[in-house]
């Protein structure tokens, strides 16, 4: 049993190497980094210098705020569209239901890179490039969310809905006040999946954003690297630490939910 812990600890240390060196370098002065010593612990601390440089040169807080706005906006719209649709597909009989479900299954086959070119042309034609709208709009429809909610709502007992209808509730209030509160596990799993994938996305922001105003954290790291850092690895690592920290902290606080959320939604790929 102790052999198991020893092997796991060794492999764990190996996986954590990039984090350890990233944090260590963010605390070291440039001269020390260039000596390429194998000591993780800095001889002289240059944390204030490195982090100060990042905070002074690029709007770190603004990038993080953009990340919050974009991820939050995407998630709110995804839920607004997907929750009622998932409920209707699971529990209501209406003409075109088969067609709608077929469309969902078809949509699941298409990776997000496929509609990117025409969406870019459309955004550019509408003068929407470099805006929150361009960053959020393409992802507001998640067929995966509709699919997930349909599966989850299907398992809710019909009696629950009948009781609500007998109480005089309309279908819309049933969705938001009865069905959704009973579907928190699916909703949190999806929320985590959505935020993690869009916080980390580089492809689409790289296409539609120019300049700092609407840059997401991923773009922020890229900008800082190409414009400011050069060979200044200390400052570069400080920027990387600052941008990585929020999501990693959230993960450490709720790691069970994160792992379950990504494992249950893993099928999206």
């Amino acid at each position: 049993m102790t052999a198991r812990i020893a092997v796991l600890a060794l492999l764990g240390a190996l996986v954590l190497m990039p984090y350890l060196w990233m944090v260590a370098a963010s605390l070291k002065p440039v001269s020390e980094i260039f000596r390429a010593s194998l000591s993780l612990w800095p001889e002289h601390f240059a944390a204030a210098e490195n982090y100060g440089k990042v905070l002074a040169r690029v709007p770190v807080l603004h990038y993080l705020w953009n990340g919050v706005v974009v991820c939050g906006g995407i998630l709110v719209f995804q839920l607004l569209f997907a929750v009622p649709a998932g409920y209707a597909l699971a529990k209501l009989r209406f003409p075109g239901r088969g067609l709608a479900f077929g469309a969902v299954m078809l949509g699941l086959l298409v990776p997000p890179h496929v509609p990117a070119l025409p969406l870019y042309v459309a955004a550019s034609g509408l003068g929407l490039l470099d805006s929150y709208t361009a960053l959020i709009a393409p992802f507001t429809i998640s067929v995966f969310a509709i699919f997930l909610f349909r599966q989850f709502f299907g398992a809710l007992p019909d009696d629950l809905l009948h009781a609500a209808r007998l109480d005089g509730m309309g279908e819309w209030s049933i969705v938001w006040r009865v069905v959704l509160p009973n579907a928190w596990p699916a909703a949190t799993a999806f929320a985590i999946f959505s935020v993690v994938s869009h916080w980390n996305d580089l492809f689409w922001p790289l296409i539609v954003v120019q300049g700092h105003a609407h840059a997401t954290p991923a773009l922020g790291v890229l900008y800082f690297r190409s414009e400011e850092a050069g060979d200044d690895f200390g400052a570069m690592m400080a920027a990387a630490v600052l941008m990585t920290l929020p999501l990693v902290l959230a993960f450490l606080l709720a790691q069970r939910r994160f792992v379950e959320g990504i494992a249950t939604t893993g099928l999206k790929g």
Binding site: G12, M17, W21, P84, P115, A116, V221, A239, M243, Q255
Partner: protein, 296 residues
Amino acid sequence: MRQRSQLAGEAIAGALMTLPAGIAYLLLLLLPTLATVLLAFSDYELGAPVLGWIGLDNFREMLADRGFGVSVRNTLIYVGLVTPASILGGLGLALLVEAGARGRALFRAVFFLPVVSLTVAMAAAWQYLLHPTIGPVNAALRAMGLGTPFWLSSSDTVLLSLAAIGTWESIGFNMVLFMAGLTAIPRELYAAAQVDGARSAFDRFRLVTWPLLGPTTLFVLTISMIRSLRVFDTVAVLTQGGPNKASEVLLFTMYQQGFTYLRLGYSAAITLVFLAVVLALMWVQTRVLDRRVHYA
């Protein structure tokens, strides 16, 4: 009468509730996807006043283009390196973590950490780690008296380095999927196998775990292939396809053609190739899943 009005009400509510999603689906997914298919058969360039239909010319150009061939080859090598490494690694870690109760949550969190970390930032960390002169990896190799490769800046090692980063990124993801599969295996089967003479841990793995994990493994295999096929971030941040196209991969070529050179028609054709490969992988997965015997 009441019954009928209730049915009508249900039909209206159902239609209204799918309508917003339906419109968004049409505008943001279905029509753009169809437009990509059409673009692939045109010579459209952004800003061009007109577009001409050129049939299969884009695909012909692709076949003749040495750069595209290199890109496909690199993508296949990358997928071929990352998929087995991250599956075997993920399975090994899952078995190891699940083998005991102590430290299970801690190690699961440690191995999963790269999945939730900002890829671009971690790519920057890897760039420092693998830096030819000041990077800790080469410093360690030097200390041991070994050679110090130019990991990301030599065409011999660049794909290997990117694949190592890709494996590091997805191994925890696969581990979690395998852990879910492992917990679904009934405990009694291991006891039964032991009674039947499966004495060693390896025998129990061979006779119980591996066959029962079959559907999970197939699922992880296709997901890993599709995920690694989508490699973009690390290439865009670290190598830009270089040196000398040695790390040019499918989505990066598509990105460059479409958004750097603004050759949207050609880029759309590359997108279709990408889509075709993804669909083929999904098709194989459902075919094999339908056919194979389900144990659990």
